[in-house]
């Protein structure tokens, strides 16, 4: 890392929200002036700080190629991945780095994501096939198998849910969603989009089992379509669309349950 620093004396200032639960009452900003290297991502800069200036700086990172979802943080007010945010986009202005909003801060840039994981699990994000589906008779036909032994899924059927399967669980959308801050019980964009992903999969029969969570007051109905979640999504998952498609579906089901009251009462 250090040997990558070219010999020039340009620097950039990083303001980082620091919080050590063992010594600090509340988070405060710490300022670091570091060498400016044009190729550096914010992760490179944080690594430099940790290696050379302050080894106590805590943050999560791993793949550095925007696919593991570890390094979400708020940079100059916008939730972004540290690995695909580059110093050159800000230089010579300073950068202000905070942990993701709407999560408790564990330490420095690390947030407590356990609640997020619980919500992710709550939507039953796995294929529930005809055998597993217990709540209601499947509405869809199980697709045929090909000679390979896989379920038939035409490119168009794959295309239906593909976008919603791209989520890397980086939690930027939770940071972007004001409803998340206003109602921490909200299941939230990523988890609801994941449930939707399985509902749209032609191999899945579990939509009814997911209804309880998805159509709950704290499910899609806590969303007011601010839409910023989809804007910050690094993988174009468009969770806002997933949520609002479910509102439309929910409204339709609600109307149907009045027209055909017996259908829902299995």
């Amino acid at each position: 890392m250090t040997d990558m620093i070219k010999t020039n004396d340009r620097t950039i200032t990083l303001e980082i929200l620091r919080y050590n639960p063992e010594s600090d009452e509340a988070p405060t900003f710490g300022t670091f002036e570091i060498p400016y290297v044009e190729d550096w991502s914010l992760l490179d800069a944080l690594e430099y700080i940790k290696d050379e200036m302050d080894s106590s700086l805590s943050y999560r990172w791993s793949c550095r190629m925007a696919v593991c979802g570890s390094c979400g943080m708020v940079i100059n007010g916008k939730p972004q991945l540290g690995c695909e945010t580059f110093l050159r986009s800000y230089y010579p202005e300073k950068m202000r780095i905070e942990p993701l909003a709407n999560f408790p801060i564990e330490r420095d840039l690390v947030v407590d994501s356990s609640d997020f994981i619980k919500k992710l699990e709550s939507v039953k994000p796995y294929i529930i096939d005809a055998v597993d589906a217990t709540k209601a008779a499947p509405k869809k036909k199980q697709p045929e198998k090909t000679s390979t032994g896989v379920y038939k899924q035409k490119p168009a059927e794959l295309g239906l849910y593909k976008q919603f399967s791209m989520c890397i669980n980086c939690m930027l959308c939770y940071s972007a969603c004001p409803q998340m801050g206003l109602n921490p019980l909200f299941t939230g964009p990523a988890a609801l989009a994941l449930g939707h992903r399985y509902n749209l999969d032609n191999r899945d029969q579990g939509a009814d089992e997911r209804t309880e969570v998805i159509q709950d007051k704290n499910g899609v109905w806590s969303c007011t379509f601010v839409g910023y979640c989809s804007e910050v999504c690094p993988k174009n998952v468009d969770p806002a669309a997933a949520i609002n498609q479910n509102k439309a579906q929910g409204a339709q089901d609600w109307a149907l349950s009045f027209l055909m009251p017996r259908k829902g009462d299995k």
């Binding site: 991502s41 106590s56 696919v67 294929i127 379920y151 794959l158 593909k162 890397i168």
Partner: protein, 590 residues
């Protein structure tokens, strides 16, 4: 100290660990499985695999073909029974993943599609665009949620094995968010801790790929095998090392030197194939070791392209057209744009080889058992002999699930017969391990861990590169030994408990140094050239007489690495010249 009791303990929740946990959970729903990972499962490095996962599926292909490609690709250092088992079971696992929801790319008729890959005679690489590992990992993680007897311990850093009565019976770990020490007790332990590419400076690996499992197993008395074989992937982005998948070449991408010449034809991979018509096992579809070596040769001849981030060659994808690139290689396009400022639709992408995979690992058998009873190893951390001296692309994702299942079932089977030793003795062991954690936290020496790490990765890069020379490797061995000495005097400045990543990095560095030493010693003593281990100092040829052998590393009583060898399990495919391109065709005609 908190004690967690389970029937089996799986360490690592990437592709292999998750598959092992699911297999165990399915095999016996009444047993408790503790799945421990130092990161949330979907952060595991399986996520970064791009190209795909191999499984024979086309009617004109055969298991024998896959077997031959794999063994020859591994330069005959493969355990042939293991490869047989692997090729016979990988397709089934790909289908299983499909049933669990993995969004494999499809053909128009709804069947799965396969793509060409380096060193593979026939297309058999299942893929999900260029995010195959991502989709496999998320499918496995999400499926694992279905099983109530899999209890996850996310963000727990495992520091040591607990060995009692000669058996692995647990691990000690730090709960990262609280710093609280935990002891996990079980009847069997599965290690699925991944590779150790972070011992090198320029690599395609994530921060977490530090060889923790290798080092823990070694310290506990297990054997590491074939550690000198480190795979350089021929196409990483200069500077960052971000991976440009082999799928790029599988789809028809070509490699050009600074004169716009397809140099691979000069290195036994020709004749030149028409642009846009990739031919299996020719040119760009040669194996990774050969391609990386060709780069090195070109660089030496001054025919590579100078970039501000170092020498590179061009990966040209322009002829594939925007539509195909967006359908098949969307991630690659966005990565190239973000990290290089290059749009593959309109410009060739500068690439160079980067450390990608450790073929070696904890010595394991076909059933994933290791030399320590009750300890099973699977995935990149293991060496069951699948990959030999050079792994073929798309064999490792398949390996994680094929052998993940085996490991899970083996561990359950072992646990069924095993009884736990006396708990007070186990906890005594655990306490000794926990002392080590406190000792590390309170380490008050003068050496900065980050600086030792910088020295390590540089040493590994310069002395154990694509081509190796005895003198340099000796230098590497000496330097790593010196760094291990320096590490004894390390200082951990951060004494806090909550999310103390400096402490974790110190443990990781300790692991990496252990692994690095194994790699260097193995390499120095392998006086031949085979697969990913290529020498320039009079040992340019493969030497089957003396070195058709696995290298073994163990620690002696003093904690020093010692080297020995064992025979390779060759069943029906006898070592022959390893050829690609026209030479291989000629060989087949004979």
């Amino acid at each position: 100290m908190q004690v967690v009791k389970a029937d089996i303990i799986v360490v690592g929740a990437g592709g292999a660990g998750l598959r092992a946990a699911i297999a165990a959970a399915e095999k016996n729903p009444n047993l408790d499985i503790a799945l421990i990972s130092k990161v949330y499962p979907m952060r595991s490095h399986t996520v970064a695999a791009e190209g795909g996962s191999a499984g024979v599926v086309q009617s004109h292909d055969s298991l024998e073909n896959h077997f031959i490609d794999t063994v020859a690709g591994g330069d005959w250092l493969c355990d042939q029974d293991v490869v047989d088992y692997f090729v016979a079971n990988s397709t089934e696992e790909m289908i299983q993943l499909e049933h669990w929801g993995c969004p494999w790319s499809r053909k128009d008729d709804g069947d799965v599609n396969v793509r060409a890959f380096g060193g593979m005679k026939i297309e058999r690489t299942w893929f999900a665009a260029d995010k195959s590992g991502f989709h496999m990992l998320h499918t496995l993680f999400q499926t694992s949620i279905k099983y109530p007897n899999i209890k996850r311990y996310d963000e727990f850093y495992t520091t040591d094995l607990i060995i009692e009565d000669g058996r692995a019976q647990g691990v000690t770990a730090i709960q990262i968010n609280s710093g609280a020490p935990h002891t996990f007790l079980g009847k069997a332990v599965v290690f699925a801790t991944g590779g150790s590419g972070r011992t090198f400076r320029f690599n395609t690996n994530g921060a977490i790929v530090t060889g923790d499992g290798h080092a823990m197993a070694l310290r506990a008395g297990a054997t590491l095998r074939d550690m000198e074989f480190v795979q350089y992937h021929p196409t990483g982005l200069p500077g960052s090392g971000v991976l440009m998948t082999e799928g790029c070449r599988g789809e028809g991408g070509i490699l050009l030197n600074k004169d716009g010449y397809r140099y691979l034809q000069d290195y036994g991979l020709g004749p030149e194939t028409p642009v846009g018509q990739p031919k299996n096992k020719h040119m760009e579809l040669g194996p990774r070791d050969k391609l990386s070596q060709a780069f090195w040769q070109e660089q030496r001849k001054g025919r590579t392209i100078e970039t501000p981030l170092g020498d590179a060659v061009h990966l040209d994808l322009r002829h594939l057209g925007e539509k195909k690139l967006m359908e098949r290689l969307p991630l690659i396009c966005s990565l190239a744009k973000n990290y290089m400022g290059v749009d593959p639709v309109h410009q060739p992408v500068p690439v160079r080889p980067a450390v990608h995979y450790t073929m070696g690992g904890i010595r394991a058998n076909l059933d994933c058992s290791t030399s320590i009873p009750g300890l099973f190893a699977v995935g990149e951390c293991a060496s069951n002999g699948m990959h030999g001296a050079n792994r073929l692309g798309s064999n490792s994702l398949a390996e994680t699930v094929v052998f993940g299942k085996v490991a899970g079932e083996s561990a359950i089977e072992f646990a069924r017969h095993a009884t736990q030793s006396d708990q007070t003795r186990l906890l005594d062991h655990a306490n000794a391990n926990l002392d080590r954690i406190e000792k590390m936290r309170n380490a008050n020496g003068t050496e900065k861990a980050s600086h030792i790490r910088h020295d390590m990765v540089k040493t590994m890069e310069t002395t154990l590169g694509i081509y190796r020379i005895g003198e340099e490797m000796q230098e590497g061995v000496d330097k790593i030994t010196e760094l291990r000495e320096r590490f004894k005097n390390v200082k951990v400045e951060d004494k806090s408990k909550v999310f103390n990543t400096e402490l974790l990095q110190a443990f990781e560095l300790e692991s990496s140094l252990t692994v690095a030493q194994g790699m260097a010693i193995g390499a120095l003593n392998r006086k031949e050239s085979r697969g990913a281990h290529q020498r320039l100092d009079g040992f340019e040829k493969r030497d089957d007489e003396n070195f058709l052998k696995h290298s073994l590393i163990t620690l002696n009583d003093k904690g020093e690495a010692t080297l020995s060898y064992e025979d390779v399990n060759v069943t029906r495919f006898q070592p022959a010249a390893r050829t690609y391109g026209a030479a291989a065709e000629k060989g087949e005609q004979k």
